[in-house]
Homo-oligomer: 334 residues x 2
DNA sequence: TTGAAAGCGCTAACAT
DNA sequence: ATGTTAGCGCTTTCAA
């Protein structure tokens, strides 16, 4: 004899209705607290839910109602803390409103972005959140065709498809240069990671050079490293740069990770900061403020960006570009 | 006159079938490359899909087939890079297998964890991934009732509900202590963050103390900081500890973030590392290896944990505990 | 206030 | 190889 421990099929709304002695629609109304029902019906339903351990099936709910309450994030990286910060900002708001976050990672590859966006749309999300404005034609096309909201994050220098939340990287770059010039530095260098992939870093660099030109100055040296940003890359990058272009008095880095690497290079090699060499980063990470000399940087509104992005989507805000600005941290490395 | 730009209702499989002049099931078979169909049918279907810009609705597909291909991550934090690392490891594997990652963040609060797990189950995920073994009774109960796979991550010291992937924090703590003792340090201190919340850090500390006891030694001082780990907290923590317990020759930190803060404190205050004071962290973060003196630490298999966790779920592996071990980094701070 | 019933868009038998 | 059809578990009219 075979005892059939058949996988207990999960409890359905119909079973709850039966157990409570009411109709399915009543259960649905009670559970979503929508429409009208008697206190008595409510009680019986909740009681049955409790007894049976019913967990609503949102897959079914979504299919029936055509509103998924799923928000898709297609981000370049999880290693660069910038993106987890945005997710964190959005996460709180989404959760409060019973939305669910879904994500995938492009590794800064826009072809992959297209593939992933397309895969995401199969879940019929309420919105798709992307980094920046640079996407393939294909990505934009399928996004437009989908009819779902699109939020482009962490940039305002470009044309938004729908919603955009962030700050101007170009202006951040300019502000960084202006600060260094104001401080009296004249032989400025740059250490950055791959600018073609990280277009926002590219825009900062553009802004930085623009400000130099405006001041009748120009970059005295640059070192562009392949691959993503990292502390190690910043360290190696500064080393290279100083060998090739001696006599620099300040270096602008593509972000704080890179700048921290530069700082450590200076520490290791007896380069006095900022007396011998000034350093300037970007992002205003906490760790940059915890080193012996707080890093001069630009604090970016990462968490706030995620938060506002989620709010705009939830409130069905009209298409718009929200510039959250940034804040210059003078620090002690410049 | 009002032009009605009626929201174009999205294309359905039925429309594709009609356009291709085949039945719905043929479209379904072609699209999932499952079952049999003629090359000709295939071509007509793909053609129609292309023409109409059809994007399959996975909500509907999931409901019909009872396999969601959704994997839910309920993690303590996104700020602690450990968890993004795990997500990254899992993400690649999941994507290759057409699974989708969903996540929410508990902030190390197990009540919240319960709420979030419950909310996740409404999406009928294939698996739920959690940090560690410490969960409320309620969490375990709803998880068991759900019948979905459960993976507990980054710990092996405890009883697994189903699958577990990680390493032994307790052994990591012991190994850390043994290393410091072997190096000849005798007056050992500890700087940690909130151990009740981060139970894995707590287990490391336990293991550390055990090893000291075994060696007939004991902790010469400790500083436990409220809240989550951070560089700044480590810095302030070491400062406190050294004031209260002078004469220490080595300090063990709850993780690398904390240890980095300690290192910076030493740098700022002319404390020679390791001559005056040795430092030991945990996690083996890249940044710890990029500072002037590579941090002595334990490299943990974070990405590998995510990867294996995803693989086990996808392959429907039987319940098991996979210990991926860890690697001691001697570094230069001890 | 409540229940019956018609889908939502797809998959999976089951015929053919 | 392919089409027909019965659901998947809900939400939402629509009557009652």
């Amino acid at each position: 004899m075979v005892i059939d421990f058949k996988q207990r099929t999960t409890v359905t709304l119909a079973e709850v209705a039966a157990a409570a002695g009411v109709g399915e629609s009543t259960v649905s109304r009670v559970l979503r607290n929508h429409g009208s029902f008697s206190p008595k019906a409510r009680e019986r339903v909740l009681d049955a839910v409790e007894r049976l351990g019913y967990v609503p099936n949102r897959i079914a709910g979504t299919l029936a109602s055509a509103g998924s309450r799923l928000v898709a994030f297609v981000i370049p990286s999880l290693t660069n803390i910038v993106f987890p910060d945005v997710l964190r900002g959005a996460g709180g708001v989404l959760e409060e409103n019973h939305y669910q976050a879904v994500f995938s990672v492009t590794d800064y590859d826009s072809e992959r972005e297209e593939t992933l966006v397309s895969a995401m749309l199969a879940w019929r999300p309420t919105a798709v959140m992307l980094a920046g404005f640079e996407h393939t034609e294909g990505t934009l096309k399928i996004l437009r065709a989908s009819g779902c909201r699109v939020v482009e994050l962490l940039d305002t220098d470009g044309t938004a498809a729908d919603l955009a939340v962030g700050f101007s990287n170009r202006q951040a770059g300019r502000a960084s240069a202006e600060f260094l010039l104001r401080r009296g530095y004249r032989r400025l260098g740059y250490v950055g990671h791959d600018l073609d992939l990280d277009t926002r870093a590219g825009k900062r660099f553009t802004g930085f050079c623009e400000a130099l030109n405006l001041a009748g100055s120009r970059l005295a040296g640059r070192e562009i490293r392949a691959g993503a940003s990292s502390v190690e890359s910043g360290r190696a990058g500064l080393k290279q740069l100083l060998e090739r272009a001696p006599g620099l008095d300040a270096v602008y880095f593509s972000n704080d990770d890179m700048a921290l690497g530069g700082y450590f290079h200076c520490l290791s090699n007896g380069i006095a900061v900022p007396a011998d060499l000034a350093l300037f980063g970007h992002n205003g990470l906490d760790i940059g403020q915890a080193i012996p000399q707080p890093l001069a940087s630009i604090r970016t509104p990462r968490v706030a960006t995620g938060k506002l992005a989620a709010e705009l989507v939830i409130n069905e805000a009209p298409p718009q570009v929200a510039d959250l600005g940034f804040e210059l941290i003078e620090g002690a490395t410049a």
